[in-house]
């Protein structure tokens, strides 16, 4: 009992800051937005029906899924060699490499995206190199579009993939790879036939985690998309703060939340499987 008593203050604050707003969000999603745009207390699923009947919502959902799925996949693939390198490094270097791998987590997202703007912009690093070398006469549009959003999202998701992969690969016995080498397998063969299959559960876990995070990302699509990229998160924000359509924003947020909960359940099932095997 002492345990719950000690935790009571923290639980009380979280109840006010978490349960109450989540209940409020659900309640307001059942309200009605009148013709004039005002909110009217009601118990109706009108907002949901309006969203689900609108082809723009389907397009938003598809775009969001495509963006998050592809960025999560690229982030996971890029994170694998980083995690393998951390694992292979001598103890002296391991800590530093791991820290560099997750460093972006500790820097504000906006600050990192400013860096990407300087790399991808029309007068940025990449276009300066392309035009300076005469490969192109006009700047390659790498920003204020889906390309820019995807690149920014890959980088912001990578540290999470690195964390999951370091934890997952740490459980793999390096002697299995040494045995493969002793038995005459080359490096490529050892990687493809031993390391990769053993790392598969960790790769899946990393992809699912970064997918969940990517689906609700807001700052990256907003800043790198330059107002021309629309995903569910940017639409929820616009509905709530630009159009002040609270029931609409709340309903869309509930739909996003539903999708995320499904994915998190899936992740819990798959990562539990990975834990048992290791």
């Amino acid at each position: 009992m002492t345990g719950w008593l000690l935790a009571a203050p923290a639980l009380a604050v979280l109840a006010v800051a978490f349960l109450w707003p989540m209940a409020g969000l659900f309640r307001i999603s059942l309200n009605r937005t009148t013709e004039t745009g005002a909110m009217e207390a009601a118990l109706t699923t009108e907002s949901y029906a309006k969203l689900l009947g609108d082809s723009f919502t389907a397009e938003l959902a598809w775009n969001t899924l495509l963006l998050a799925g592809s960025s999560a996949a690229v982030a996971t693939v890029l994170a694998l060699p980083v995690a393998l390198m951390v694992r292979a490094a001598s103890p002296r270097w391991r800590g530093l490499l791991a820290l560099l791998g997750i460093a972006p987590l500790l820097v504000s997202a906006t600050a990192r995206l400013v860096g990407w703007m300087a790399i991808l912009g029309d007068q940025g690093l990449i276009n300066a190199m392309l035009m300076g070398s005469g490969l192109r006469d006009t700047p390659l549009p790498l920003i204020n579009n889906w390309t820019g959003v995807r690149i920014g999202l890959v980088e912001s998701l990578m540290p999470y993939a690195v964390l999951v992969l370091i934890a997952g690969l740490g459980r793999l016995d390096p002697r299995l790879e040494e045995a493969a080498a002793t038995l005459g397998a080359g490096r490529a063969r050892t990687f493809l036939r031993v390391t990769l299959p053993l790392a598969a559960p960790a790769l899946l876990a990393a992809w699912l985690l970064t997918l969940v995070l990517g689906l609700s990302s807001f700052i990256t699509p907003r800043l790198m998309g330059g107002g021309r990229v629309f995903v569910m998160a940017t639409e929820i924000y616009d509905l709530a703060l630009e159009y002040v359509d609270w029931p609409g924003a709340a309903a869309l947020a509930m739909l996003l939340l539903g999708a995320l909960v499904l994915l998190m359940l899936l992740r819990a099932v798959t990562t539990r499987g990975a834990g048992r095997r290791a």
Binding site: T2, G3, L6, A7, P9, A10, L11, V13, L14, V16, A17, F18, P21, G24, L25, L78, P81, V82, L84, M85, A88, A89, L99, L100, G101, I102, A103, P104, V107, S108, A109, T110, A111, V114, G115, W116, A118, I119, G121, Q123, G124, L125, A128, E155, M158, P174, E177, E178, R187, S216, F218, I219, R222, L223, I236, Y237, A240, L256, L257, M264
Partner: protein, 261 residues
């Protein structure tokens, strides 16, 4: 096995993607030009000077620093006892308590921020200090609990048991033995919780107003409107601050341990 050259090459590519934005921010922040142009037409500290004389950003900095200080103290005071219970006590429902205390971290901050706006606005609490503190505590408390649990768990239980044997009550042992030994962890938790609040952008976007706004929000809005090296100078200052804080935590506790698994 020694890492192959292929692995080194691909790992280097991964590190370049992770670290390139920071490097470019550093370079552009000392640009003498008017835009985020590469290569910079010259070097100067003019944008750092411009940053210091930007009233909006500087007053937002003051708000953010004070807010983060309040939130980290509150999160430690509220989360510390809960973390002690999770790390040290055996009681029914301990696993459930741990799950409940980390639940807010599972949900997107966008949804949390919207929910807070929807219930706080009708009460006139949006764009107020209590509203912002509550919103930041929502992410800071679970974070503080997680780090403090690790900190308490690293203090050997035997020390407490020895104190009991020598006649200390459980409360005395907790306060006089375990707490001082967990102090470096508590400092690390305070620093990281401060950073969490100081960098929090999305929840704040829903809870700020014209008269009360935070640095990340103003930075986000600035970057939405214009892109000049001023924003790079600000970004660089924040990166240096974060690196210093993290170096401090690394010395005190070891970061990878502090982040927990």
């Amino acid at each position: 096995m020694r890492p192959s050259w292929w692995l080194r090459l691909f790992a280097a590519l991964g590190f370049v993607v992770l670290l390139a934005p920071g490097a470019l921010v550093a370079l552009i922040s000392i640009s003498a030009g008017d835009f985020l142009t590469f290569p910079p037409p010259g070097f100067s500290l003019r944008w750092y000077r411009a940053l210091l004389s930007n009233g909006t950003l500087m007053s937002a900095l003051g708000t953010s620093a004070l807010l983060a200080a309040i939130v980290s103290v509150l999160a430690l005071l509220l989360g510390g006892p809960a973390a002690y219970a999770i790390a040290r006590l055996e009681f029914p429902g301990r696993g459930m308590l741990e799950a409940m205390l980390s639940a807010p971290l599972l949900l997107p901050t966008l949804v949390l921020g919207l929910g807070l706006l929807l219930v706080l606005q009708p009460l006139g609490l949006a764009a107020t200090w209590p509203g912002l503190v509550l919103g930041h505590c929502l992410v800071a408390i679970p974070f503080a609990v997680r780090i403090m649990t690790t900190a308490f768990a690293t203090v050997p239980k035997e020390l407490e048991a020895a104190a009991w044997t020598l006649g200390a009550t459980p409360l005395q042992a907790a306060l006089r033995i375990t707490l001082p030994n967990a102090a470096p962890g508590a400092v690390a938790a305070a620093v990281l919780t401060f950073l969490v609040s100081f960098d929090e952008t999305v929840i704040s976007l829903f809870l700020v107003g014209p008269r009360l706004t935070t640095l990340p929000v103003e930075m986000f809005r600035y970057a939405e409107r214009t892109t000049d090296p001023l924003i790079a100078a600000l970004a660089m200052s924040l990166i240096v601050f974060a690196v210093l804080m993290v170096a401090l935590v690394e010395r005190l506790l070891g970061l990878t341990r502090a982040m927990g698994k």
